[in-house]
Symmetry: C2
Subunit: 384 residues, 2 copies
């Protein structure tokens, strides 16, 4: 079995695979309605929210992004997007496709959004929506949200957060941080196969939805229709991906059993051990320590090393997947995911060892022994 340490999917627990292949029932069967209820309950737990609306959309994380925008942006609405990587760019694309009036604040890839520019833009444009990415999967930056949320709320804008790479692995507080629209994917820190997009909407968001003048341009992602299927009415909209929902339920149960707090600690600790190990190998992280995303670690490719060859060695000789850079970071970084089930000490050790061997084979001198020793110290601190 391959060890998945790329930008997602992550490895999946045996319990989730078993759930995935449970015999189907009809999508309006009372048994499945129970599954739907429990999923919504556990999504509220995982998002840290009391929102009524907390459901998995029948598409991948990108469908969640589209739903979070098309349902709330009407033609001509001003929308501010913070762009610090590929997924911020994608939001801009979607805003334009739904006729929003786009304003954007850019950060250099590898850095968080500059708070002062965001504040200024929010006060100037008074956008209906302020949209940012919590964990930029293309750069490995964790965007701090609390200050941004405060400024957004002052202008009475809706706060939209992409939590694809953070939900279930990195602290995310939908209610406390007053996030109005939040979506994620299943294949990252939740360690469920890709195919669904958990999404939650605050009461303020739901009110905006109710007061729309124009129909949502997507029928498939129209939340007013989707929530009637997931709500008390159980009105048929589309046939839910039943097996995927079985799997998601099991993955969410695992999150709940471990508790979010323990999960966050686990992600932090393994991230720290990995960074220490990478540093001992003589590599440099792309992101400043305080903004590093625990679930996705970006490390610079040293001069004279070919990025792709190292990755292929890892995959072919060690059965380990990691990711390369996207866009302007192509060839310049590796992206190493430590998400959900994949994020354990044994995997960090196995990876550091295999990575050292692959780097050496590509002519980069480094010592696996040193790296493993130093990474081990991180765990010892806890064990002590």
């Amino acid at each position: 079995m391959k060890l998945l340490l790329g930008p997602g999917p992550s490895n999946v627990d045996r319990r989730v695979y078993e759930a995935l292949s449970r015999p189907l029932v009809g999508h309006l069967d009372p048994e499945f309605l129970e599954v739907m209820n429990e999923i919504q309950h556990l999504l509220r737990y995982t998002f840290r929210t009391q929102n009524r609306l907390a459901i998995p959309l029948s598409g991948t994380g990108s469908a969640g992004m589209e739903a979070a925008l098309v349902n709330f942006v009407q033609k001509g609405d001003p929308v501010l997007v913070g762009v610090a990587g590929l997924f911020g760019e994608r939001m801009c694309d979607i805003v334009q496709r739904c006729g929003g009036r786009l304003a954007r604040v850019d950060a250099d890839w590898g850095h968080p959004l500059p708070l002062d520019s965001m504040e200024r833009a929010i006060r100037t444009h008074r956008p209906r929506i302020v949209a940012v990415v919590h964990g930029e999967t293309s750069t490995g930056v964790r965007q701090p949200l609390e200050e941004l949320s405060r400024v957004t709320r002052e202008q009475d804008s809706l706060f939209l957060v992409d939590a694809v790479t953070t939900l279930g692995g990195v602290p995310l507080e939908v209610d406390r941080w007053q996030i109005d629209l939040c979506y994620s994917g299943t294949q990252k820190c939740l360690s469920c196969p890709p195919g669904l997009s958990p999404l939650t909407v605050s009461d303020r968001g739901a009110e905006v939805l109710r007061s729309r003048r124009l129909p949502v341009q997507s029928w498939y992602l129209d939340l007013t229709l989707v929530q009637k299927y997931w709500g008390a009415e159980r009105t048929y909209h589309h046939t839910a991906p039943i097996s995927m929902n079985y799997a998601l339920l099991e993955a969410l149960r695992i999150v709940h059993e471990e508790t979010l707090e323990a999960r966050w600690s686990r992600h932090e600790e393994n991230h720290r051990a990995l960074v220490v190990g990478l540093s001992a190998l003589g590599l440099e992280m792309l992101v400043d320590p305080e903004y590093r995303l625990w679930s996705l670690n970006t490390v610079k490719v040293p001069p004279a090393v070919e990025e792709e060859r190292v990755r292929q060695r890892l995959l072919r000789q060690h059965d380990i997947e990691i990711g390369g850079g996207l866009g302007i970071l192509r060839g310049k970084i590796w992206r190493i995911g430590l998400m959900g089930t994949s994020c354990v000490r044994e995997n960090v050790q196995r990876f550091v060892e295999a990575f050292a061997a692959s780097l050496q084979a590509e002519g980069f001198p480094c010592s696996a022994r040193d790296a493993l020793d130093q990474a081990g110290q991180v765990y010892k601190t806890r064990d002590a």
Copy 2:
């Protein structure tokens, strides 16, 4: 395990469940690219097409419907929809959401579209797209397509066909019938869990896509982007639902091993046996014999019988799911699916027996013995 004889999902072969829970690899892993290649190859076989573009979209059949419309309709384009049930209505809704100029021809629910009205409307409106549903899941009508295709082509319109309930169970000839846009779902006659939407586009369709003036309003379903991921470029668009694609591949292999022709015969034969059995129970079909959809059989609820109670008895006491009527047919019909893996002689017999018992329990006099005998004759004809 429940016997799924509703309007979908149908029962799933053990091989497909096993594929579903195969360990994940990354969505750009060479192994997964092989899976993607074989899926496209087998989709061409199943759709009976040489189209270059034949892929599964990462959403259910409804996402396929939306994709087939939003990619090809531009603001102001005239679109003609034939409406003979709920799914025709849904197409009208989507056409309006993407700014198409809608014209519609209606048929009474339970009947196919009147060819003369369709011809007149096509000549009058000269629509860019003529859209019809091949198998109306809400009524159990199979819409003949060959004549419609001829008239559509004469006016140089694109011919769009919803094959959600027919692909893999009922003859469908994408190339021979000159269908330009065709989509389906996985959970009906392909007997894979719901979650993907196979879709194919003719070269004429692809040309319309290339010559669009405006961006497609959906980013998630933008076929120009999606096909770059599925084509030679393998450009990242979104993370494909990997497990669902494993399952679809296995389901398509099963279709190919059986052959389409054998599959169509099997669906026809079991449909005929079911109809004979239902008739022997004293029930009347909704649809005239020549337009009956083999994969979804609609039968009228006799006076003084409560539709829902019979369905609940079947589910609770016999572990069999069937469907009730939708929209204006609510309470008036049952919808009995015989799709893919579910469509075998043993299931027809088990259903007829359980249905007879449930009807009797609700005060409707009928004989299971007679119905089974007469249904059995249909198979004997073949065996002889």
